[in-house]
Structures are given as structure tokens and as C-alpha cells.
């Protein structure tokens, strides 16, 4: 009898203990999931303020969505996972509060669309937003959500890919298609292109617009294309080094700016969607004296960072080439994208070091224990907008000093398109001593050079190569055919133009 009672005691006691534990965990969970609890460690007032201005707080219905509703996975997906992530996030915030200064954290980078899916759980969005087709949704909205329904898994689409401003307000964020033309600011409307009768830097003036482009005379010469094998942070596609000859050319002092790009857009844009094949055909005809330009972009291609002299970004390689075609027609000169060899020659400005200024990529981008010590980045920060000083956005050219040729932002700020197609072994195919080498004739992707505001110091070396990722850069574009003018999933891509030297000048 006594034994039975003991067993019963154990069972009941265990049950009671279990219930108490469960209640305890539940209470602890509830307590630590309040906004106040989150904010006690995650003391970033801007996040709080921007949340209060977002549709998840400031809306017609008065419903407020708390931190934990978006920044934790739904419990229904598994309690283990929920608590693991909760503990991890809590520990991270606690650690940050204990050892970091708020100012040292790159908050801007954490708000970007590439980072956001790591801290916002898609399943949590969908837990509340069960119906993606609410009454009153626009036709574009339906098309986008049908695209999401069909491709979410295949392409790993997230709600925040398109609704980045849902939880925290973003100035100027929009889904709308750009309407009409874009204001390019004050300034005289030029009537004629610049006169170029000598090989020296000049300012191109685009007739019918207020756009001017400072063109720097880049003297011809010989240089070593690529990087030596012992260059820190080097990648194998930067070799083998080849000694090549480059003819003189003019190159835009800066990446093409929004003001310059919108001038092109305003003159050539077409509201309706013309099939890509028709656009290619029209723009390929020599007998036409006009070009068919971009369709209106959706959202805000400047990312809300401002237009003006910041580099124009997110256009496709085709849009950049069409810009050159337009500029050539307007000025009577031959504008085009630089070849990869021209680009690197111009970036080096006669130097053969990792950067055109002093410095070791390893020191600028310390890894391992060195990271704790930090690095002296005074020099690189003077010339390059990169991860270390951007904060997570492009900057105006006035923020940096020029290279020895007088060119700005060759390294960093926005990646730049080259005319060449990309091949990993492109340099192996170039004969030593080649004159004005060009890239391979075949290839799906184009060369992209210079790195961007988001890159570490190692990726903004003069020799660092990269390339377009066409399909990935259009991943969330719900249109079909997808845009041939605007990329939806890359931000830091722009271009600069070169102008061929007219034959009749010295």
C-alpha cells in the first residue's frame, strides 16, 4: 500500500512540478516578449521611433504589432526552435549592450533588404497575414502576390523583399510605378554639345538637357593587368597578370549621376511595356535617330538616399549601354562602357599596388583576432566609399579624393559595368603585349568592377573582379517578361562612360 502511495506521490508531484514549470516558462516567455523587455537591451531608439511610424503601429485600425511578433518565429513552427532563437537573440542583445557602443553598430546595414530576412521571420508575417489578396488590392499587387505564391520556395522570396518598410518606417519607400518625368534640378538647358578639339579634359554638355558630364583625358600607355599572386585578398580570376597597351580615351570623372541618368530617362522612357525583342530590334537599327529607353521603375531606385550627384544605380547593363547610345546620338561622339582593361588601367592611374594609394588590404580588413584591435583606415577612407565608412549607402563624389588620373570613386561607392563579358580565365586568353584587349565574345554575365559601399577593403582593390548575376538580381521582379531596364534585387550597381577620342584631334 505504502509503495503505491509513494508512486502516486511521485506521479502527482511530477505532474504538479511539470505544470509549475510550464507555467513558469510561459510566464517568463510572456514577460520577456514584451516590447519593454526587448527594448531594455536592444536600446536603439531610432528603431522604436521608426516602428511607431510604420504600418504595424501607425495604422487606421489601431492594431499594434509587437517586436516579438515579427522578430521571432511563430511558436506553431516548433517550440524548440522558437526558444532557441529567442535565447540566441536575447543573448546577442545582452552581449551588445554589455560590450558595444550603440554608435559602433552599423544599424543602417541591418535595415537593408539583404539582411532583413535574417531577423524577420517570413512565417511570422504569414501567420497574421493569412490572406495575401485582401479586398481592394491593386492588379499589380495581385500579380506580385501570385508571383510570390508560385515562386516563394523556388526563389526563396520573403515578404520583406518587397515590404521592407512594414515594421520600421523608411522615408520615401514606395511600391508605386514612377509617374511622368523626373525633375533634374535647376541649371541651364544646353543647346549644343561641348567642343572637343584637343586631347584634354572637357565637360560634355548634353543638348536639350541640363546634364553635363566631366570627362577626364586618360593618356594611353602600358600596364600590368591583374594582380600578382602574392597580393593580399587576391582571387584567382585576377591572373595571370598580362602586360597590355591601352590607347588614350576620355573617361567620366565620376559614376554617372542620377541627374545625368534621369535626363536620359526623361527623353527616352516609354510608359507602356514594349516586348524586349522589339526594343532590341529598334535600338539595333542604324537608320533611327532616337533610342527606346527605360520603362518607369517600380519603387524608388535611389533607395531614398537622394538623387542629384549620387551615382545612378540599379539599372541593367542594357540600360547602361542604351544610355551610351543616347549620349552618342546627342553629342555626335562615341560614348560607350569601358572595357575591363581600360577600366583597370584608369583605376590604377599609373600605380601597380593593390590600391592607387598606400595600404595593405590585409591591414584595412583585418581578420580573426586582428578585428578586435581595429585598423587604421584613414588613407582608404579618404579615397573610397566602402563598408568601413559608407554607412550602407552610396555617397556623393565630393566625399572622396580623386585618383592620379583625376577620377573619383573608381573604387567603392557603386560597382561599375564594363563592356566585357565575364570569364574567370579571361586574362589567360589575352596575349602578352596585346593592344586594347577585349573580353571573351561569349558569356552570360558582364564584368563588374570597383566594388561598392557594401564591400570590405579586400574587394575594392584595383584588380578585384566581379560580374553581374542577372537572374538573381531579378529574383523578386514579378513582371513577365522581367524588366530589361531595372534590377529589383541589387542596389550597388552603376556605371561610368568612356568617350573615344575623335580621330581629327591631336
Amino acid at each position: 500500500m505504502g509503495r503505491k502511495r509513494v508512486i502516486w506521490g511521485f506521479i502527482l508531484g511530477g505532474l504538479a512540478l511539470g505544470v509549475v514549470l510550464m507555467m513558469g516558462v510561459n510566464i517568463a516567455d510572456t514577460y520577456t516578449s514584451t516590447n519593454e523587455s526587448c527594448m531594455s537591451c536592444h536600446y536603439h531608439e531610432e528603431a522604436d521611433m521608426l516602428w511607431k511610424q510604420s504600418p504595424h503601429h501607425l495604422n487606421g485600425s489601431g492594431t499594434v504589432t509587437d517586436c516579438a511578433a515579427c522578430h521571432l518565429p511563430p511558436k506553431q513552427e516548433g517550440l524548440n526552435r522558437y526558444y532557441m532563437i529567442k535565447l540566441k537573440m536575447g543573448a546577442k542583445d545582452l552581449w551588445a549592450k554589455a560590450v558595444k557602443d550603440k554608435e559602433d553598430i552599423d544599424w543602417e546595414a541591418k535595415r537593408q533588404v539583404d539582411y532583413a530576412p535574417r531577423i524577420v521571420y517570413n512565417a511570422s508575417c504569414l501567420k497574421c497575414h493569412e490572406d495575401l489578396y485582401p479586398e481592394g488590392i491593386s492588379d499589380d499587387g495581385v500579380a506580385a502576390h501570385l508571383y510570390y505564391d508560385e515562386n516563394a520556395e523556388k526563389l526563396q522570396l520573403n515578404c520583406v523583399s518587397c515590404h521592407l518598410n512594414a515594421g520600421h518606417y523608411i522615408e520615401g519607400y514606395t511600391h508605386q510605378k514612377l509617374k511622368g518625368t523626373v525633375d533634374t534640378g535647376p541649371g541651364e538647358i544646353y543647346e549644343t554639345p561641348a567642343t572637343v578639339d584637343r586631347f584634354e579634359s572637357f565637360t560634355e554638355t548634353v543638348p536639350g538637357t541640363n546634364a553635363s558630364i566631366r570627362m577626364v583625358a586618360v593618356p594611353g600607355g602600358e600596364f600590368l593587368l591583374g594582380s600578382p599572386e602574392n597580393e593580399p585578398r587576391r582571387r584567382t580570376d585576377e591572373g595571370p597578370q598580362k602586360r597590355v597597351q591601352i590607347s588614350r580615351f576620355f573617361m567620366a570623372e565620376t559614376e554617372i549621376t542620377w541627374r545625368q541618368f534621369w535626363s536620359f530617362y526623361n527623353e527616352t522612357m516609354s510608359e507602356g511595356r514594349t516586348p524586349p525583342s522589339v526594343v532590341y530590334e529598334l535600338n539595333g537599327r542604324a537608320d533611327l535617330d532616337a533610342v527606346t529607353g527605360p520603362t518607369p521603375p517600380f519603387g524608388f531606385p535611389d533607395q531614398g538616399w537622394g538623387m542629384g550627384d549620387r551615382p545612378a544605380i540599379t539599372m541593367t547593363h542594357y540600360a547602361a549601354e542604351t544610355f551610351c547610345q543616347w549620349l552618342s546620338l546627342k553629342t555626335g561622339r562615341t560614348y560607350r562602357l569601358p572595357t575591363e582593361a581600360e577600366w583597370e588601367y584608369a583605376a590604377r592611374g599609373g600605380t601597380g599596388t593593390p590600391y592607387f594609394f598606400e595600404g595593405n588590404p590585409k591591414k584595412y580588413e583585418p581578420k580573426g583576432l586582428g578585428r578586435l584591435l581595429g585598423a587604421d583606415t584613414t588613407m582608404i577612407a579618404r579615397y573610397v566609399i566602402y563598408e568601413g565608412n559608407s554607412p550602407a549607402r552610396t555617397q556623393e563624389p565630393s566625399e572622396v579624393k580623386a585618383n592620379p588620373f583625376g577620377l573619383k570613386n573608381m573604387l567603392g561607392n557603386a560597382m561599375e559595368y564594363c563592356a566585357d563579358r565575364y570569364a574567370e580565365d579571361a586574362y589567360a586568353r589575352i596575349p602578352d603585349g596585346a593592344q586594347d584587349p577585349k573580353g571573351p565574345a561569349e558569356g552570360d554575365e558582364f564584368v563588374v568592377r570597383g566594388g561598392s559601399y557594401a564591400d570590405a577593403a579586400g574587394a575594392v582593390r584595383c584588380a578585384a573582379r566581379s560580374h553581374t548575376r542577372h537572374d538573381d538580381w531579378l529574383r523578386t521582379d514579378p513582371q513577365n517578361p522581367k524588366s530589361i531596364w531595372w534590377y529589383s534585387d541589387v542596389k550597388a550597381i552603376g556605371f561610368r562612360v568612356v568617350c573615344e577620342v575623335p580621330e581629327n584631334i591631336d
Binding site: D131, Y133, D139, V142, A143, L146, Y147, E150, N480, P481
Partner: protein, 451 residues
């Protein structure tokens, strides 16, 4: 699919399994030849797909007021089917663009069914649909030319009215998107929406569907679907008719109104294949032409190669030309056998019949076999039980599949699902009024020319 639907499908399947004890034996008794494979691999888990209950008559319940939008032949037919399917239903409102249509329908309802539709509830004009829906009806039959379907469905759903949507339910990409979004909204509101793809409510098809899902023909590897018949009807233009009036009265011959016959009629057969497979096509390439159609701007024959995920192909073939062979049927090939709707038989790869729909057995069990009536039984039953039931998304996809095939033939180009579903294709004229139209816009498409 909502949890509610899953539960219901589960119960339905449970009931079907129970009923199999009663009928199953006799249905299977038609087997001959081939070995019975005891271990079938189902294509989909039972309960994950919808099997309609098909009683002879709808359950009794609260009285319902029904409206009719589109008083043509199909609209009148649907009214008859509805009133045969269920008791306690009153037709309380009528709408059509043309007064003569409303009048004749009103008279026929009085004569055939003894129901007097109040004169103040008889509406004409392009906005008649709104007035019918706003007149206080519980349910509405939408049987106008298909181009109008998405907008009418959207309005009915916004007002919480149950819809019966005659097929096809869209003829262009814009309409498709409206249908898909509205279908979700209707589901959220707990509405019952049945579409006129009546094969889904035809006993022989439903029994075949079950057998195929159970795995009797193995994995589906391809198929052929047909709607080859003689010329349909047309209307010569009458004196005093405006361009718009003529087009609407002659609507089965005009692209923008009907979607062409591959969508308007052949959608039935395409829909059978997508129903059996449980997937929409991803690509279409095809040919089509106009040989002997008299009015309008449509083709009268199409032959389309539809491609699905996994490389499955389905050939679709439709024709409306007199004096040619007729065939209205579907054929589905699987890894273990095939099924076709000419004799509703499943054959193994040697041609031995493994299973065949037993019409006699079904007749012994049921009295109602008209699928046009049975689809209304299902519609009313869901309304009276208060259960959401939405067929619009599935039929929207088959309608878009037809549209994709049509565009492939019109242009001569391969058209993908991603292209057509996001396309700006919108057949609705900017202005809807009985007047002059820019008739130069309505031309027969010439493949390869972009026109």
C-alpha cells in the same frame, strides 16, 4: 486549402469509403483480364483533394433568393438546373444588357416554374449586374459572356453573395488575376462558389477521378484532350444594331467576349486534364487558324502542345468546323495504364480493361445523373451548410491555360505560364456602351506578325 475544407474532404472521403462497400463491388465487377494490383500508390493522399457529394437533390434548409445575370441560353438553362436541384429557391432578380432577353426569361420562369420575378427587380444595361446583386439576393448565377465574369464575381463577393460562375471564368490575364484574388476573398468570407465545369459533378468523371488518384493508372505521364465539333451558332447583323449590340448578340464569335473557342468551350477538356493531374501547365506552343467561321474575329481550330512541370505533355485539339470528324473527350496516360472519357474505362498497358464506370449500378443507386443539375446541388448544399467552397481558383487556372494556348497560336510563339499570368493582356473595352466600336481593332490574328 483551409482546414475546414480539409476536414470536410476527409469526411466526404470517409463516407465515400463507406459507400464503396455498397457500390464499390459492383463498380469493380466490370473488371476483366488484367491482374489486380493490390498495392496501389496514390497520386495524392486521400483528403488532400476534393470529392463532391452528389446526392440526387440539395438538402432542405433556409429559403434562398437567387438572381440571374445574363439571360441568354446558358443563363436560362442554369435557372432550370438550379430549381431542379433544390427546393426553397426563388428567382428574385434578373439582369441583362438587353431588355428583350430579360423579358423572355421572366416569361419563361413564370411559365416553367410558376415564379413571378417582380418587374422592379428586372434590370437592363451594362450595370444591371450591380443592381441584381444589390437587390437583396443570397446567390447569383453569372452567365454573361465570359469577359465580364471577373468583374461580376468581384462585385458579388464584395457584397457577400454566393456565385455560380458559368465557365470559362476569365479570358485574359487581367481577368485571371481578378479571379484569383477574388477567390481568396470569397473563401475568407465563407462563400460557396461553383463554376460551370460540370464534369467535376458528373458521376462518371468523379468516379474516374477517384480511381486515378488512387493510383490505378500509375503516375500520369501525358494526355490528349479534344473538343472537335461542327460550327457553333452565329448571328447576322440586324438593322438598327450598333457595333456593340451585334458583337454581344454574336458573342461566341468574338475574341474579346468569349476568349475564342479554345477558352470558351474547350476549357472543359483542358480542365479535366489539369484536374486529374492537379497542376497547371507551364508552357504552351501551338497552331490555329480560321477556315470557315462566318462572323467575328476568332479562329475555328487550335492544336496546342501544353507542357507541365516534369516535362509532361498534353495535346489539346479543338475545332468548330462542319463536315469534319467529331470528338469531345479526354485521354490520360499513366505509367501503368490509361483512362479515357469515351467509355470511362481504365486500361492497362496491354489494353485490358482494369476498371470501368458502371452506369447501371449508378442508376440503381441514384436518380439524378445530370451534371448540370448536380453542380447546383453541390452549390446549394454548401450555402445551406454554411461551408466555404471555392472552385474559382481551379477554374481560373484552367481558363488561363486555355488563354495561354490561344496566345501561343495567335502569336506563333511559345508562351509560358509566368508570362501569361503577369501579362497586361486585358480584353475589356475602355468604354462599355451600346454604340459604335472601333471595328478596325477586331482582326483575325496572324501568327508571326505580332498582329
Amino acid at each position: 486549402m483551409s482546414a475546414k475544407m480539409n476536414r470536410r474532404s476527409f469526411l466526404v472521403t470517409g463516407a465515400a469509403v463507406g459507400a464503396a462497400g455498397l457500390v464499390g463491388g459492383s463498380l469493380l465487377s466490370a473488371c476483366s483480364g488484367g491482374k489486380k494490383d493490390a498495392k496501389l500508390t496514390p497520386l495524392r493522399e486521400p483528403g488532400s483533394y476534393y470529392i463532391p457529394e452528389l446526392p440526387d437533390k440539395a438538402i432542405d434548409g433556409r429559403p434562398l433568393k437567387a438572381g440571374l445575370i445574363g439571360c441568354g441560353g446558358r443563363g436560362n438553362g442554369a435557372v432550370n438546373d438550379l430549381l431542379e436541384a433544390a427546393d426553397g429557391i426563388t428567382i428574385t432578380a434578373l439582369g441583362d444588357v438587353f431588355p428583350d432577353r430579360v423579358q423572355s426569361t421572366r416569361e419563361s420562369i413564370a411559365k416553367e416554374h410558376g415564379q413571378e420575378v417582380p418587374a422592379e427587380n428586372c434590370f437592363t444595361g451594362f450595370d444591371a449586374y450591380q443592381k441584381v446583386i444589390d437587390s437583396g439576393v443570397d446567390m447569383v448565377i453569372v452567365a454573361t459572356p465570359p469577359v465580364f465574369r471577373p468583374v461580376h464575381f468581384q462585385y458579388a463577393t464584395s457584397k457577400g453573395v454566393h456565385s455560380f460562375l458559368e465557365k470559362p471564368i476569365c479570358v485574359d490575364a487581367k481577368g485571371y488575376r481578378t479571379i484569383m484574388a477574388t477567390a481568396k476573398q470569397a473563401e475568407a468570407k465563407g462563400l460557396s462558389v461553383v463554376t460551370g465545369t460540370q464534369r467535376h459533378h458528373e458521376r462518371a468523371y468523379v468516379e474516374s477521378f477517384k480511381k486515378i488518384q488512387e493510383g490505378l493508372i500509375g503516375e500520369i505521364t501525358g494526355g490528349n484532350v479534344y473538343w472537335n465539333q461542327g460550327m457553333l451558332w452565329y448571328r447576322e447583323r440586324q438593322k438598327g444594331w450598333s457595333d456593340m449590340e451585334w458583337m454581344i448578340r454574336d458573342w461566341v464569335n468574338w475574341k474579346w467576349l468569349s476568349g475564342d473557342h479554345i477558352v470558351e468551350q474547350h476549357v472543359h477538356n483542358i480542365d479535366v486534364f489539369t484536374w486529374m493531374l492537379g497542376a497547371h501547365p507551364v508552357k504552351a506552343t501551338g497552331v490555329g487558324s480560321r477556315q470557315r467561321r462566318i462572323t467575328g474575329d476568332q479562329y475555328d481550330n487550335f492544336s496546342i502542345d501544353f507542357e507541365f512541370e516534369n516535362g509532361i505533355h498534353m495535346h489539346s485539339f479543338c475545332r468548330q468546323i462542319d463536315g469534319c470528324s467529331s470528338n469531345v473527350s479526354e485521354f490520360v496516360q499513366g505509367t501503368k495504364g490509361s483512362w479515357n472519357s469515351q467509355d470511362f474505362a481504365i486500361r492497362d498497358l496491354q489494353g485490358n480493361i482494369l476498371w470501368q464506370y458502371d452506369e447501371e449500378a449508378a442508376k440503381a443507386q441514384f436518380t439524378q445523373h445530370n451534371p448540370y443539375v448536380l453542380e447546383h446541388v453541390d452549390w446549394v448544399n454548401h450555402i445551406r451548410k454554411g461551408e466555404a467552397h471555392i472552385e474559382a481558383a481551379e477554374t481560373g487556372q484552367s481558363s488561363l491555360a486555355g488563354t495561354m494556348g490561344r496566345e501561343a497560336a495567335y502569336t506563333g510563339n511559345t508562351v509560358t505560364w509566368d508570362e501569361i499570368s503577369a501579362s497586361e493582356l486585358d480584353y475589356m473595352p475602355e468604354k462599355l456602351e451600346l454604340g459604335k466600336m472601333d471595328m478596325s481593332k477586331y482582326t483575325v490574328p496572324v501568327p508571326g506578325t505580332g498582329k
